[in-house]
Symmetry: C2
Subunit: 615 residues, 2 copies
């Protein structure tokens, strides 16, 4: 029994590595209980009852000195971790049958075969290096433990932008894929792979047209081969016709035709075909003011509702742009009642601080779930923030997002503070004052980040390509369709019915909410409306003053966060890591504040009402 | 005798490769005359008289049927090419003794050992690939022929940013360096190498402090080793304390102390130490309005005048920024009368179209030479535009810059049209109308490029890092010290005595010329002055209208160039290459015109007086 040297964030009390000899969920549950109970509940014992028909559900009964966990194969494992975490946190065990809201609770890894991770901020890939599989099985079991502890059950291991030789995952790398699947199977985690739509063309098929029988035949056969190697593969994930990826548009086919062909190949084996809806024109001419990128997904998909095979899942980003600090909920989520939908989040902090700046996502997700049609979305996915760093997530606090995502995927009615407090308690076990301080810091971190970067719905002011740090006009003349069109009078895009008409893609209540200046939330006002700098907001301040105020507040709040951080009794090396990154966050916040204020002052010529320095 | 398949631009009539067996300048001269005379002057012959004391000078006597070329070892070769080109162009042979104005006529290759070229736009390195020497000796002799034909006599073969393993050039790679030197020796071209100031520290010396005896000893010994391998090496080129390079500042030493240490090591062997003056703070805070980057070189060097060893040459870029489309002449050229100076040009079109857009430099150089102190500059250098492309320069017309540079280095009183016409005649031998059309196109190409990119002295609106295409605010918040500070009222930096004081670095006549709005040339007005958009220029138009007009004119002129180009009877593949690149230039010109006009319209709110579309 070796002791792991890597940090497991919210599971610090599970000190022993999981032995390779354990190959069932029950064995792992037993192992975890045996090491946890003596420390967390001395004198108590636990019994496991596997009841196959319970699947992922479980119950926990606490009788005298015995906890009885009853559940399906994964259910007992989930129940085990739930029990351990309750004991560690000093919480009562949950009453009644626990079951997940979403059947598929997916992670998407954007790992490349060369070992790099697209938008990865926690080191190199845990799975690949140098164009091949290259992993430490001890660490992968640690990861399996982390995922199972928060109930995540599908992991797509490779980047949706499939580049050579990652296409070999469903070809010559199948034996290694099967080995990896065997590692994760006892944790209740099924693998998924991203595939390249044009794959048949590297095998003598002259086309990738989904209506071509040769293409269908190639995929049918390939699915058979893949499922022979990995019978419980969750399915394929596809990014098609997006940002240069091949897809059915090349052949004049729509995305139902494109997805269904693959879905039919997977159906005999119970596989799902997850099809991303992140499709837009990424070669837009900046002179073109009619095309409005957020409208693209709806335009490409809504009319296809009802035309998809029943094992197709359309995976839709939470907002219509691309994981900005704040976006309105994607209207496409409301537009396809006859289709299985998954919502996609991004734990990787691409636009949200890159795991340097603190950005706890649960409060944001709460808002998104509140705006989302509860009964339309049947699956949930998130781009991971994981990598080979010792702490897995780059910033020790970034783990709260992986943790919180799992809890939301299990029960989307959960409150963000509950998640953040539980994570804080489990991870650091600090005194109450310190715990309160860190919970408060994390709870406010997204709003603070938003204030110094992108308040009032102003997004895309990031440095192009890199997406960290400010560059207010960086995207204004680029081909990505992401403009704010600031000039000396006004800023923002009119997306009302009188403007691009984007708002008309929503159900009526949202049309009214967002379409009217009386009701549109301040935080999204420049997302939906173009306003003059002297426009008077509902709180009596002018727009320009709000821009200044929010940025200054964001910077001041960051300074306060830095002070709080210094006072916390964090263990080493979390403390050193957090403080070092906070220095970078402070620099970043100051740059954002001063640059964006300078930018708008140059345009508006209006001074700050409080006489603060605008450079 | 093989026939070369690569194109030699202005020497198309020299069809035979130069045999490796020729090892003296006289042998090469004989070879070239034997192949050229029958075609260019049937029935005539040539005699060569080598007179060692004439060095690089030569005379050509034309008597009846015999040309007699008399000169030093290189002189006869220069005379030979001069004769051949006169015959090819139908010009009379030059009268009297011809001798070069500058003793060192240098090319700086920014080639990296990995085969890439920093700011290279003509393919991979001709010298290196994969971390080692890797060249085609046939092509290198072609290059030697091209250089000798325009009198260039020093070539520094590696990037001034010396990265591993390029430091091996003066260590383990000396045998190969000697082989390369042997290839170029008969062409009158001496090699030079860029060195890494911190080299001793990789050999057990604990410091690179120029005043440390161990450091001095290491360099003295290394120079001895180097000159044993390559006795006629021209010397070392050094970029120190610049953009992250190591240098004497690390040890609290000034650049005279830093350069002299190396110069003393080279002096016993007749070597020159060429020290670049491109030193400035590249970590400037954009909030800092006092630091003015163009002032940096003068501040670092002027006070050191008289303190340099006599074999030190300070190499100064023509303008105080960095090879912008137009800059005032560097004031440092006037500030160091007791020091040997070299002026540095850049043939590589880093900021000037990247060998996609046409930009013939001779008209620009004419202006620079006219503004330069004639008697203060004793050497001349240029960053090359060369690479492994079949035509050596990426764009077939870019060769005019290599050609013209050689002619200017030989005789800086030359007129640009003479150069461009001669190049056109030699390269294409077209009918008179076509020749006139191409000469006119090339003569105007810099002004056209300037108009659509950076008229009125506005520079640094390029895409950061890449330096091609427009990004008007791309550098405004960066650390490079390159700002225009546009706002809703005005644009430009006040560099007069009332502003940053930059203008005070000049002799009085330039202070007056640039410092006054009455006399400052329009083309530099925003370089020296901050002006309101409604400022009325001397021609009666407002500044904003001039911005619009110049950009529209630049675009229209480019369209006209494209039309002209189509009519020219250029040979293949020059024609196809030129037309393909012109399509990209047209796109670029349209982007520049529309983006910069949009940018200033957004700030000023002032419409174009002629009602043209500003997007």
């Amino acid at each position: 029994m070796t002791t792991n040297t890597k940090r497991l964030s919210w599971l610090p009390f599970l000190k022993a590595d999981i032995p390779a000899s354990l190959t069932t969920s029950e064995q792992i549950a037993r192992f975890e209980l045996d090491q946890a109970l003596p420390a967390l509940a001395a004198g108590k014992s636990a019994e496991l009852n596997v009841s196959a028909d319970m699947g992922e559900s479980y119950t926990i009964e606490a009788n005298d000195d015995v906890y009885t966990i009853t559940g399906g194969e994964s259910g007992v494992l989930y129940g085990t971790y739930a029990l351990i975490m309750c004991l560690a946190a000093g919480h009562p065990v949950p009453q009644g049958t626990q079951q997940p809201r979403y059947a598929l609770r997916m992670l998407n890894c954007w790992d490349n075969a060369d070992g790099s991770i697209e938008r990865g901020y926690a080191g190199r890939s845990l799975f690949f290096e140098g164009g091949k599989f290259d992993y430490d099985p001890v660490r992968l079991r640690q990861l399996g433990r982390m995922l199972a502890s928060v109930g995540l059950n599908v992991m797509c291991i490779n980047n949706v932008n499939v580049r050579y030789p990652a296409d070999q995952l469903i070809e010559s790398w199948l034996p290694q894929l099967a080995e990896l699947a065997a590692i994760y199977r006892p944790f209740g985690v099924k693998l998924m792979v991203s595939i390249d739509y044009s794959a048949p063309m590297r095998h003598g098929v002259p086309t990738a047209d989904p209506l071509d029988p040769q293409v269908q035949e190639w995929w049918n056969k390939q699915a058979e081969i893949v499922y022979k190697a990995v019978p419980d593969l969750a399915g394929f994930l596809v990014k098609a016709d997006s940002e240069g990826r091949p897809g059915p548009f090349t052949y004049g086919r729509n995305h139902a035709e494109g997805a269904n062909m693959l879905a039919r190949a997977l159906k005999p084996f119970g596989g799902k075909l997850v099809w991303r809806c992140f499709v837009y024109n990424c070669r837009q001419d900046w002179r073109d003011r009619k095309t409005d990128r957020p409208m693209a997904a709806y335009q490409h998909y809504a009319y296809l509702d009802g035309q998809f095979e029943d094992n197709v899942i359309l995976q839709i980003k939470n907002g219509p742009f691309d994981f900005q600090v704040r976006e309105p909920v994607s209207p496409l989520l409301y537009a396809m009642p006859k289709t299985d939908l998954a919502i996609e989040f991004q734990l990787a902090q691409e636009y949200t601080g890159q795991q340097i700046d603190i950005f706890a996502m649960p409060p944001m997700w709460r808002e998104i779930f509140d705006d989302m049609p509860a009964d339309k979305v049947m699956s949930i996915a998130a781009v991971t923030n994981l990598g080979r760093d010792d702490n897995y997530c780059g910033h020790p606090f970034a783990a709260v997002n992986l943790f919180g995502y799992g809890l939301f995927a299990w029960d989307p009615s959960i409150q963000p503070e509950k998640i953040i407090r539980l994570w804080t308690k489990l991870t650091y076990g600090m005194d109450q004052l310190s715990e309160d301080a860190l919970v408060s810091l994390l709870m406010g971190s997204r709003r603070t980040y938003e204030k110094y970067t992108a308040p009032l719905g102003l997004c895309w002011m990031v440095t192009p390509n890199q997406h960290y740090g400010p560059n207010p006009s960086g995207y204004e003349y680029q081909a990505w369709g992401t403009y704010h069109k600031a000039d000396r009078e006004a800023v923002g895009i009119d997306r009302t019915a009188a403007g691009t008409g984007y708002v008309c893609q929503y159900p009526e209540e949202f049309q009214k909410l967002y379409g009217s200046l009386e009701t549109c939330p301040d935080e999204l006002i420049l997302w939906f409306h173009r306003l003059r700098y002297d426009y008077v907001m509902r709180d009596g301040r002018t727009l320009i003053q709000r821009i200044y105020d929010d940025h200054f507040e964001g910077l001041e709040e960051t300074k306060a966060m830095a002070e709080t951080l210094k006072t916390l009794p964090l263990p080493s090396p979390d403390r050193e890591e957090a403080l070092e990154r906070m220095n970078r966050q402070l620099f970043n916040a100051r740059e954002w504040c001063d640059i964006v204020n300078n930018f708008f002052h140059n345009y508006s010529g209006i001074d700050d009402a409080h006489g603060r320095t605008i450079y």
